[in-house]
Symmetry: C2
Subunit: 341 residues, 2 copies
């Protein structure tokens, strides 16, 4: 019989196909969203429920990262920042969050407290209210460590949905990719890790100005977490029936990250970021948006490519390689890094 494998959790094609068969195919269309809102008819970072004057946007994510404390952050910071970023990528301004903690019997209370303090610290800095939660304990033979699930709530006058990319749109990446994935990978492999530090951070101070000034021109927004840049671009191409063409040399990747990936036989474009946004932007404002991003301190932001009309029934992602050829960037597949987020 068919069993769940780690690949089903890696955020690549196995995850997508499992969700399709187990969930999406079994929920009737009228139950996939609320009214004119956004839901699992086009799965995205956050959903949207119409309310007078706009939309309440909402997200949920379970964080299982191992180790709980990693260079650059910890489980609590990851949960808070990830939830805030999911709301932002849907065009929402983060308002509130709820947390459900499942903790193993025997964990030091101080360890739990450190994780929770870190989560609350991010919410405090960002002005996001913590309005509810749950806590369960599992016997140590049933769970190892701590799992934190957070739900986020925001308000969007106009939600950003990833299905609106049109040919000509420019693809922007706001910083070096794969940093979180590399940090977790290095931690799990016990590779000396002063080179690697997760980029986990809320993107509020960057995204709110972009939303305020350019929301009508942002045709897609996503933080490339599990599945990385590769999954994000492939989802976008598929959802919008375009071909996305990027210059490999324009995608910012730090050398230690690409070296680690080469050593491990992993494509850095499959690795998770936790403090990077990808945007698909109408071409006439792309330079202005990029300038705004640079002005906010994201110096490594680049336009990495553009959407083009699909010339076949295949909605592909094509990379122009460093040596001038072309390669197809497939969505990630197989087991990458377990418990990366």
């Amino acid at each position: 019989m068919h069993k769940i494998s780690l690949a089903h959790g890696s955020g690549g094609i196995e995850t997508a196909s499992l969700l399709q068969s187990v969930i999406f195919d079994n929920v009737p269309g009228w139950l996939k969203k609320v009214g004119t809102g956004l839901g699992i008819d086009f799965p995205d970072d956050s959903a949207a429920i119409p309310v007078p004057g706009g939309y309440m946007t909402v997200s949920i994510d379970a964080y299982t990262v191992n180790p709980i404390f990693f260079p650059g952050g910890d489980l609590g910071k990851l949960a808070a920042a990830g939830t805030i970023n999911d709301i932002l990528m849907g065009g929402g301004k983060p308002i509130a969050a709820l947390d459900a903690i499942v903790v193993q019997e025997g964990v030091e209370v101080e360890v739990l407290k450190e994780v929770v303090d870190s989560m609350i610290g991010v919410f405090k800095e960002e002005g996001v209210a913590l309005i509810g939660g749950d806590l369960k304990v599992m016997p140590s033979k049933h769970l190892d460590g701590i799992v934190v699930t957070t739900a986020g709530l925001g308000f969007a006058e106009k939600p950003i949905s990833d299905k609106n990319i049109t040919p000509g749109d420019k693809i922007i990446v706001t910083g070096p990719v794969g940093e979180h994935g590399a940090a977790i990978l290095a931690s799990q492999q016990n590779t000396p890790s002063h080179e690697f530090k997760s980029d986990v951070a809320p993107l509020t101070k960057l995204m709110i100005p972009i939303i305020n000034e350019f929301v009508d021109h942002i045709h897609a927004a996503r933080d490339p977490t599990r599945g990385g840049v590769a999954m994000c671009l492939n989802d976008w191409a598929k959802n919008s029936a375009t071909t996305i063409v990027c210059n490999e040399s324009d995608i910012p990747i730090r050398e230690p990250v690409s070296n680690l990936c080469e050593m491990m036989g992993i494509d850095p474009l499959n690795l998770a970021s936790e403090g990077v946004a990808m945007l698909a932007v109408a071409p006439d404002v792309a330079e202005q948006v990029l300038e705004l991003i640079h002005r906010h301190g994201y110096r490594d932001a680049r336009i990495i490519g553009e959407a083009r009309k699909s010339t076949s029934t295949l909605d592909l992602v094509v990379l122009k390689t460093l040596i001038g050829g072309y390669r197809i960037l497939e969505p990630p597949s197989g087991e990458l890094v377990p418990r990366i987020c």
Copy 2:
């Protein structure tokens, strides 16, 4: 050093005190709720965020029940019904839900599908949209089974908060208590279990008419899950600074449940229900509310007691016992049944 124990997860005083020290004490007042809404300043089944015309209500719960399939239901049904009930107990009409599934590597896809189908089945029947979710896989050495966290969203013109009980209010229980807890306990103990069946069920068809007709007179509502009737009444007494006096003989408990509890040395008033509501109702409408409840098929519903003015600084729950004496009903403490919900 102080470690997490199973008692911290049993929904009794250890849970309350852990949440107080780890979470509530560390979130500043202005971040405990949104505007005039409800949040963790008075922790309740659901929180509320003001929107034009009323409140968006929201809840989160992690479901870790073991076994996944139990007499009367399964993990999926429990997650869906529990979330719907949390929204209802806050005075909201359930609209939408999101799910975050964490599953162990090696679980049969068919088992996951059965759990999810069961969850979706409840949402379908109740007209609750499933608008988002997440799925993670953990290696089998880190997790045993499946954990489902669900967030619920509803709309309330007027949320029900549990802090409004006033002396004279009648306490209503809508059905026999402890049924879910007894079913899980019997399953975990391998006690022949045809006697025991979880009562897990959404309470929408009962609660919507109550909310529509009597919301101004409902001063508290809760489904007595973890911690049971005992925790619910003690929280209510504490939050409203009243003494709650109940007749033990009026609290509906089926004989097999009380027998099992006697055998195991457990107070049935500490055991979880998953298809029962407890209400604190203004005395002048209590009989009408009870009548409505009976009319909807909840034949075992009873008025079990009332709130009284506290005559001391102790806000206690007092039971008039079967033999005519009085005993204090303490909030549950210690390890009861692990992974009950």
